[in-house]
Symmetry: C2
Subunit: 237 residues, 2 copies
């Protein structure tokens, strides 16, 4: 069986021991049915990945003894995804896929056509952690506070904007021109004309996503997948 990976907030180092409580302990004990002596790989986003052993189990908490480091902390820098909030099940699916595709951070943006409340931050964070554990990442992307489009433009000069219309630049070309730009994906229904003007005046690069109408979460996945594909092609050359 694959050794489970667990994200923890605590410092990690050989010979140390840490305690896991509440849902995480429940998960190891009752879902994965791990017993004393079982292996668990730990990461905290700062110190790489460490192999730990279950040393003590009681009803409330599990004690893990940390052994050798398996992987040093690595650079997992990826794009910042700016997105309009969407309904919860689609949002959580988008978060999971964004983590798997290597997103660095996620920032929800208020737009005229997006009327959806963002879910509970702790729940969204839990989904990001779960995805990072599952896909082997050493970092968990942050999810920022909701910001306005004006804030976004102030902070980010060189946006790449995923656009419903067909008059933008092809996606791969835009990503190659602006390899380190934040990626902004609009809401269902797209940006308003005023928002498009605001973005255009700020020097944002609009990119087209092809002939079909993509759901917001599909557009986000599409843009991140294209970024990852370009990145991997370069890495592996």
């Amino acid at each position: 069986m694959r050794v489970p990976r667990l994200f923890v907030e605590q410092p990690l180092g050989e010979g140390q021991s840490i305690e896991i409580a509440a849902e995480r302990a429940h998960y190891l004990r009752n879902v994965l049915r791990l017993r004393t002596g079982a292996s668990v790989d730990l990461f905290n986003g700062r110190s790489g990945e460490w192999r730990a052993t279950m040393a003590g189990i009681d009803r409330r908490r599990i004690t893990l003894e940390i052994g050798a480091q398996r992987r040093p902390q690595a650079d997992e820098s990826g794009p910042v995804l700016l997105f309009a909030p969407i309904r919860r099940n689609r949002l959580e699916w988008m978060l999971e896929k964004a983590v798997e595709l290597g997103v660095h951070a996620l920032v929800p943006v208020v737009t005229e056509h997006a009327v959806v409340e963002l879910g509970r931050p702790d729940r969204l964070r839990a989904r990001l952690i779960e995805a990072a554990e599952q896909c082997g990442r050493l970092t968990v992307p942050e999810i920022g506070q909701v910001v306005s489009l004006e804030d976004v433009i102030e902070r980010h000069a060189e946006l790449v904007v995923a656009d419903e219309r067909r008059d933008g630049q092809p996606l791969l070309a835009a990503l190659e021109d602006r390899p380190d730009s934040p990626l902004l994906v609009g809401p269902e229904g797209g940006f308003s004309d005023a928002e498009r003007r605001l973005l255009a005046d700020a020097g944002a690069r609009f990119t087209t996503l092809g002939p079909l109408v993509l759901r917001a979460e599909t557009a986000a996945l599409f843009v991140l997948a294209a970024w990852r594909a370009l990145e991997s092609d370069v890495e592996d050359e």
Copy 2:
């Protein structure tokens, strides 16, 4: 409000009228709350898209009168996706996204590491239709019968295989080398060594999906997104 799109099996032509029954009628009447005179766009995968008007509504069925053709049938040829069945909710997500990204057809493949039963064909088909209606496609991808890996190799000489390992060809390069190849995505846990040998001997091209462990449905969408991104870049050049 955006005019709803509806896939129908019937022939479509100006001046004709067709009847919608059961869930589709319920959807138009009770979910979208459309009334007599409302517009609905119809497509059947063969004759383009037609604007129709709700002429008659009763408890069991809705009569639509077909007006002018809005779009002629277009070529929506995309890749064939060969995939290992996964759990239902993830499979249905994958189907929806595959439709949005332009998949031509979907074929479930039995692999050693995939132990999941494919869902009910009518339910899967309904999900494909729903996605095609939503994203503006003029065709609904077929979903084939479950086949063996041996069948796949017999039918398709030039596969592109999405691979968990890192020793394959970069994805974009593989897709550019084999632009019309079917795309084969393995199950969670990847292909067995025997399956990899079988595929390699058959001349399949293995492609790497980057540093992270992708869920099966993420791998499928990643490959389709990369294909779509290359396709769009070419179209729009």
